[in-house]
């Protein structure tokens, strides 16, 4: 007979879970495994609220296995380390992102691309190597194999740095892979939310010219004055869109709603690359002609491997890049989710788990 979440593992744990597609989160008792030789036990201090958390809580992608404890932008303190763990010691500040396991043997795993392992274990809503369900960072503690734990740089703020564990790597990885690191090149960032605003900061740190592409002008002043974007393009302004045609080397498309690709493709120069990191719930329409006559491409990217995630954190620490956040208490999570659904946040909610999660 299947064990209850509380009885599955030896260590009691507490968090907030969604139990059905309403997505409403509420207190939830469960358990975590014993800290094995390879493991690090993390007391969770902060957890970012990623839009994926909302999608999963409401079963918008169709594969939620309730009850689900979301959260994969986790920052905390190591409280226990296994016998084989050398990279971390008790008291270290650490991060846990979107993955907590992989097969370690396949080609992607051997190339530090654990995120593309066909048997990847996600931090929540996934089945671990031991066959039990994984629960995420809206909780008091987590036990993770050291390979999937990040060292959290000293000079990054713990709360504002948390979103880097997903939003940060999600934009950093394709920026490296698709060659967006050459100073002087022109990057368009479509969508100015959690992912988009971090992409602007990282893009500027790479020395790129950055244009924010948005459906409304209300974020223009923020984009330029606060985030450091070089320019701002409103997609509903035909004259400005026309003037910007063929001017961008790359576009990072963070928009998660279904949207037309043609206007974005026409902004690209010849050989330009549009990389999509948002996850619309339906297929997009892909016009072929602009691709063929301009040798343009549309690529995808999915977070990044562990080595690259560490590299990203260190890069952000060096360039003083953190997310712009609104710190919330655990009990306000449902209100935050409602606001997130309306994109009413500048630009990421982060749950002050350490100070507000209580039984």
């Amino acid at each position: 007979m299947a064990k209850s979440p509380e009885g599955e593992h030896p260590h009691k744990a507490f968090g907030w879970a969604a139990r059905d597609p309403s997505g409403a989160l509420s207190p939830f008792h469960f358990s975590r495994r014993e800290n094995g030789d390879e493991d690090v036990t993390v007391k969770i201090l902060y957890c970012g609220v990623c839009h994926s958390d909302l999608h999963t809580a409401k079963n918008e992608w169709g594969f939620t296995n309730y009850p689900v404890v979301p959260g994969h932008e986790i920052v905390g303190v190591a409280t226990k380390v296994g016998n084989n763990v050398e990279k971390f010691k008790v008291g270290d500040k650490v991060g846990v992102g979107v993955l907590v396991g992989s097969c370690k043997r396949c080609e992607p795993c051997q190339q530090d691309l654990e995120n593309y392992c066909p048997k990847v274990t996600l931090t929540y809503n996934s089945i671990g190597q031991d066959g039990t369900k994984t629960y995420g960072g809206y909780s008091d503690m987590i036990v993770v194999d050291q390979r999937y734990v990040l060292r959290f740089p000293d000079n990054l703020p713990l709360d504002a740095g948390a979103p880097l564990l997903c939003a940060g790597i999600t934009v950093y990885s394709p920026m490296k892979y698709y060659g967006m690191t050459e100073a002087g090149k022109h990057l368009g960032v479509a969508g100015l939310g959690g992912l988009g605003h971090v992409a602007v900061k990282i893009g500027k740190a790479f020395g790129l010219k950055v244009t924010v592409i948005s459906s409304s002008s209300k974020k223009e002043s923020e984009a330029i004055n606060k985030l450091g974007a070089d320019s701002f393009l409103v997609t509903s302004d035909p004259a400005k869109m026309k003037a910007a045609m063929g001017t961008m080397d790359f576009i990072i498309d963070t928009i998660s709603a279904v949207h037309p690709l043609l206007p974005l493709l026409s902004l690209l120069k010849m050989n330009g690359k549009l990389v999509t990191v948002g996850l619309p719930d339906k297929p997009l329409e892909l016009p072929i002609f602009p691709l063929v006559v301009g040798r343009k491409l549309v690529g995808g990217s999915d977070i990044g491997g562990m080595k690259e995630t560490q590299e990203m954190l260190d890069f952000c620490a060096k360039h003083n890049i953190a997310a712009d956040i609104e710190l919330i208490r655990m009990e306000d999570i449902n209100t935050a989710m409602e606001r997130l659904a309306k994109s009413d946040v500048r630009y990421r909610f982060v749950i002050d788990v350490g100070n507000s999660l209580s039984q």
Partner: protein, 364 residues
């Protein structure tokens, strides 16, 4: 008042043109420019029929409307009859080839890097606007006058008629094989569609050392693909079991199919970091599922032709490896029938017009 085609330029020329979207081709008197300092004049021997020729004469792309009459043809092989005073690369008697590009701006990033095909001021071999503002006319004609930088030398040891399709079909598949790193030992590439582009693609990819899988809707082409063209394997795209077994096995897929078709199954065939390159030109947008792209860091790209340097490299390679297109040689006056058959895919695998031997007789 616009000049008549016959009077635009000083040298009289003759070819076949389509005058309206019915696409019906018939004899057409026009004219070409004097051979300039950097120009090469060549007598057309053969011209391949590219599916784009059919699209343009029937206004399938929608922007030909103002460009009739159209003399198509951009898979041209001929013999040099005159060279301009500053021409260094060619002499009278040379065998030359010309593809889809007649010129570019010469100074943009693309032109400078042998990517004239992506120059925003690209001049097409036909249905284009030349530097002097006049219309360009293609290879279904008696001679061409081209800037020496936009023609290639055809090596001695290659059949001229079988080589003609390489000037478009050949370069169209060669360029993405090289640019996307799919044509080399250790790589496994899929070729979708076994027509003019596809069959040449199989031969070039095999000669470059790749493992090749042909993906087709017609089981009847299997034997051809394996026994005649040398492909390593064959997948029927409607066979779900076969397609599923092949998931995640290909480094890249070159998609030559011009009809609207689902690309999701093709994306699934790709390994992580795999690339789907579309070289056919469907007239409507395709459906792009985003999740499969993300989960494998895959890419959907387009590619359209290639540069001149690259075309020369391709044709030299083809000659060295005895690669030509499989053709059906036709007379000029068969061209309308050929177009009807091409529309139904009824050709193994390219029509080539025997221009030098059969065009003159059609002059009224």
């Amino acid at each position: 008042m616009a000049k008549l085609a016959e009077e635009e330029h000083p040298v009289k020329a003759f070819g076949w043109a389509a005058r309206d979207p019915s696409g019906h081709l018939s004899p057409f008197n026009f004219s070409r420019r004097e051979t300039g300092e950097e120009d090469v004049k060549f007598k057309v021997l053969y011209c391949g029929i590219c599916h784009s020729d059919l699209h343009f004469i029937k206004n399938d792309f929608g922007f030909s409307a103002s460009a009739y009459p159209i003399v198509p043809g951009h898979e041209i092989v001929g013999e040099v009859t005159e060279v301009g005073s500053k021409v260094t690369k060619f002499k009278v008697g040379d065998k030359v080839g010309m593809g889809g590009i007649a010129g570019g701006c010469g100074s943009c990033d693309n032109c400078v890097n042998d990517c004239t095909v992506y120059c925003p001021k690209l001049i097409l071999t036909y249905n284009g606007i030349d530097h002097d503002g006049t219309r360009t006319y293609g290879g279904y004609s008696d001679f061409m006058v081209a800037n020496e930088n936009f023609i290639v030398r055809v090596p001695d040891n290659i059949a001229l008629d079988g080589a003609a399709p390489l000037l478009c079909a050949g370069i169209t598949v060669w360029s993405p094989l090289k640019y996307f790193g799919l044509g080399e030992p250790g790589k496994h590439v899929g070729i979708v569609g076994l027509g003019g582009l596809g069959h040449v693609g199989v031969r070039l990819a095999k000669a470059l050392g790749s493992k090749v899988t042909v993906i087709s809707t017609s089981p009847s082409k299997k034997n051809e693909a394996l026994a005649h063209l040398g492909a390593d394997s064959f997948l029927v795209s409607s066979d779900q079991d076969e397609m599923r077994a092949a998931m995640g096995t290909l480094d890249g897929v070159i998609d030559t199919v011009s009809a609207v078709h689902p690309i999701s199954p093709l994306i699934d065939l790709l390994k992580t970091n795999g690339k789907l390159v579309i070289v056919g030109a469907p007239s409507k947008p395709l459906e792009l599922p985003v999740l499969p792209l993300l989960l494998g860091r895959k890419v959907v790209a387009g590619s359209g032709g290639g540069g001149i340097k690259e075309t020369q490299e391709m044709i030299d390679f083809a000659a060295k490896h005895s690669i030509t297109a499989d053709i059906e040689l036709i007379t000029m006056d068969y061209v309308n029938t050929a177009m009807e058959r091409l529309a139904k895919g009824d050709v193994r695998y390219r029509f080539v017009i025997d221009i030098a031997n059969t065009l003159p007789a059609t002059k009224p």
